[in-house]
């Protein structure tokens, strides 16, 4: 065991840091540091800068147009990008459907979709949750029926993050109702720009609307848009959920930003203690991420669930502490103030309204990607072996 960063790792960190400093547009950085909402084009601009640098797919193998970085390099990259105020990489293509296509996709699917994900020519969204099927994905009701060379898909999806930006959806649908619930599910790639697709925003607690309901009414997809073998979608879904959990765990940068923006004017020792404490907890989580990341052979298992639970707990606590630091100034809130061009006129610093909004919004992290109760059940099953 060697718990020091190598010279190569240090040099890599410097390279990324310099790139972010030089290339990240100032308006994007300003939005990140004041918690203003990002537009579709904001994500695209940053993504294309990375793509021009050859860094469009940090976590993919070189053979598929990725960087070929190892897990530690990827982590260093993410931390430096966050620290510098860069937008997060939109995960739906790069982290979700991309790796699935690399592992299970046909050659034609790989040739067509993978380069477009790297350039972000397509914006993807995830069609999993349904109104009656939240934590219990195996109970989903959307159907895909074969007819004349294509699938006809009908159903309703919900909690679909950024679906209003999406060109494509990777959708779980029931292709066989005669077998055990989770065996009859397949993953199908659906073009969102066609009749029968309706997207309606859902307003969340922070007054924002990043998630949507999506109706699919007699929507068509060619048979070749089935991913992997028909009726094996359940396996892929579990694989993806493991990834989403790991993504959640990258938190340190957020912690540092919270502390940098803290109003030290009237902080007493009670608040300072909480901030020192969470700094330690974030470090513990970060080391846990490093340990998991360095062990590339292992499948997402109990450790992924631990990262998801702890990651969400710390994210919620960080948001709460930020609100605590803002104190009375966190009370005034108009959702309009979350945009860069807003006419903010509450008391206190411009970040104050975002403190309350962040606290309300972060409650979702204990719910999405499998609630923390479901995660604890997964851990218990694996360690007890039942």
């Amino acid at each position: 065991m060697d718990l020091t960063w190598t010279p190569e790792e240090r040099a890599f960190r410097e390279e990324v840091r310099t790139f972010v400093k030089e290339k990240l547009p100032a308006d994007l950085q300003a939005k990140a540091f004041s918690h203003h909402r990002l537009k579709r084009d904001d994500y695209l601009r940053w993504h294309r800068l990375l793509s021009d640098q050859g860094w469009g797919a940090p976590s993919w193998p070189k053979a598929f147009g990725g960087t070929g970085w190892n897990a530690l390099q990827r982590l260093i990259f993410e931390i430096e990008c966050f620290k510098g105020g860069a937008p997060r990489l939109v995960p739906f293509g790069l982290s979700m459907i991309g790796p699935v296509l690399i592992k299970y996709g046909t050659q034609a699917q790989k040739d067509h979709f993978l380069p477009r994900i790297i350039r972000m020519d397509d914006w993807w969204c995830q069609g999993y949750s349904e109104p009656g099927s939240g934590s219990d994905l195996a109970s989903l009701k959307t159907t895909a029926v074969r007819a004349e060379g294509h699938y006809v898909i009908n159903g309703q999806k919900t909690w679909t993050t950024l679906a209003h930006h999406a060109d494509w959806m990777f959708c779980l649908a029931r292709t066989d109702s005669s077998v055990k619930a989770q065996r009859g599910i397949s993953m199908i790639l659906i073009d969102m720009k066609q009749p029968g697709v309706t997207v309606r925003p859902i307003k969340t607690l922070d007054g924002g609307s990043e998630v949507n309901e999506v109706w699919l009414e007699n929507v068509q997809a060619p048979l070749e848009n089935l991913v992997g073998e028909e009726n094996n979608g359940w396996t892929y879904a579990k694989f993806l959920l493991g990834h989403e959990r790991s993504e959640l765990a990258i938190l340190k940068s957020l912690a540092e930003r919270t502390m940098a923006s803290g109003d030290s004017l009237s902080l007493d020792s009670r608040v300072r203690d909480s901030i020192n404490r969470i700094e330690a907890q974030v470090l513990a989580l970060e080391m846990m991420v490093l340990r998991v990341a360095a062990d590339e052979s292992s499948e997402p298992g109990p450790k992924a669930s631990i990262l998801k639970i702890r990651g969400s707990e710390l994210q919620m606590e960080l948001a709460r502490l930020q609100m605590q630091v803002a104190g009375p100034d966190a009370l005034p809130y108009d959702p309009e103030w979350m945009f860069a061009e807003s006419d903010f006129h509450g008391p206190g610093a411009a970040y104050s309204p975002a403190a309350g909004a962040g606290y309300f919004d972060m409650r979702k992290t204990a719910i999405y990607g499998g609630t923390n109760e479901v995660q604890k059940g997964i851990i218990a099953k694996q360690i007890i072996g039942v």
């Binding site: 009656g132 104190g327 009370l331 206190g348 309300f360 409650r363 109760e373």
Partner: protein, 371 residues
């Protein structure tokens, strides 16, 4: 000690609960919030049931009710998530004025308040001063007509919609309290929504001239009045939070009984049953501390009173946070949308921490006031 409601208290709380069910539904509350101004009809409904006159002494046309009745009333208002100025005006401003010695002000404003013709707001917080009670930065100087006021107050709860403000200011090096009409020349009110569906304002006072009769009190007496108003306000807010917690627990139980996952109602999962039990435990502890605060209001020693009230605020805010966060978690995805009332209750319960002094403020006050 007797915890049972009197006949009158039961009739009053029954009427309020019916009123809440009729006029404070989710849709009606949301519509009033969107309008962004004090709804006179809704306020009249509360006035008719005696909310505005509840604490006004009988000599000024009110009911002169006890803190115990206040607890019972504000618990119902909390169940209905009332966003009208029932605490800021009917409890805090009324308490402050009822205990002052200025007979002119009492005749003028308490009577109007009991009749529903005047709403008042207390402007006591300063920008960047968190919850400090000292009015640093707001100055009063004697002029020939009376006094001239200058300064900037923030987070003045329900300033818009009020006819008058009770303003704290420094006069001759000590605290003084004044009544300032909101339509007086030099008063500027910048109104904004708060995250819990209520409203507050930044109030700018630019050479606002008031008469000599508008001085409520100064020095130690002004400080005592403001502390008393704060203690009554905090206690009413604890009652409000207790009522909101009760209602939120009820709808969460209903949700767990009806929502099915993995082939059975969520209520069948032991891990969720335990969280409901924890919610109820916190809610009952919170209500018990609200009783402690209410008893405390009768203390003759101000320090003893304030210390009991601060203890209650700390505990009720913690309970409110637990119950709110847990209700959202148990509602799952539904809980994090802005389309169900669980979110509204969660936000109001969150505001319990940030209104009228946060936990750190009240822990410090407990420390300062000793044992």
């Amino acid at each position: 000690m007797d915890f049972a409601y009197s006949e009158e208290q039961r009739m009053l709380t029954d009427s309020l609960r019916r009123l809440m069910a009729d006029r404070w539904t989710y849709a009606q509350r949301r519509a009033r919030q969107a309008a962004g101004v004090l709804d006179q009809g809704a306020w009249s409904n509360l006035v008719e049931l005696g909310v505005a006159g509840l604490l006004v002494p009988e000599a000024y046309g009110g009911f002169g009710e006890s803190p115990a009745t206040m607890l019972a009333v504000h618990q119902e208002l909390g169940r209905g998530l009332v966003s009208e100025p029932a605490i800021s005006s009917a409890v805090m401003a009324v308490t402050l004025l009822s205990h002052c010695d200025n007979e002119t002000i009492k005749q003028r404003w308490l009577t109007a308040h009991a009749e529903g013709e005047a709403v008042l707001a207390i402007a006591w917080q300063q920008e960047g001063e968190r919850y400090a009670l000292r009015p640093l930065g707001t100055r009063a100087t004697a002029v020939s007509e009376g006094f001239s006021l200058d300064g900037r107050k923030v987070l003045v709860w329900h300033a818009a919609g009020s006819q008058a403000l009770i303003v704290s200011a420094v006069l001759d090096g000590e605290m003084a309290l004044f009544v300032v009409r909101t339509d007086a020349s030099g008063v500027k009110i910048a109104d904004y929504p708060t995250f819990d569906g209520s409203r507050a304002s930044t109030v700018i006072l630019d050479r606002v001239v008031v008469s000599k009769e508008d001085l409520i009190a100064k020095g130690g007496q002004a400080q005592d009045l403001l502390a008393l108003a704060l203690d009554f306000g905090v206690t009413a807010m604890c009652a409000h939070a207790s009522g909101a917690m009760q209602y939120l627990t009820e709808i969460t139980i209903q949700y767990l009984k009806t929502r099915k996952q993995f082939g059975q109602p969520l209520a069948a999962f032991q891990v969720l049953q335990h969280r409901l039990s924890d919610m109820l435990t916190q809610q009952e502890m919170g209500l018990s501390m609200t009783y402690v605060a209410t008893m405390g209001l009768a203390e003759t020693e101000a320090a003893t009173r304030s210390r009991l009230v601060s203890m209650a605020k700390v505990e009720v805010a913690a309970a409110a946070r637990f119950v709110g966060e847990t209700a959202v978690q148990l509602h799952g995805g539904m809980g994090v949308t802005d389309e169900f009332e669980v979110g509204d209750y969660f936000k109001r319960l969150t505001a319990t921490e940030f209104m009228l002094g946060d936990t750190n403020f009240h822990l410090q006050r407990m420390q300062d006031l000793g044992n």
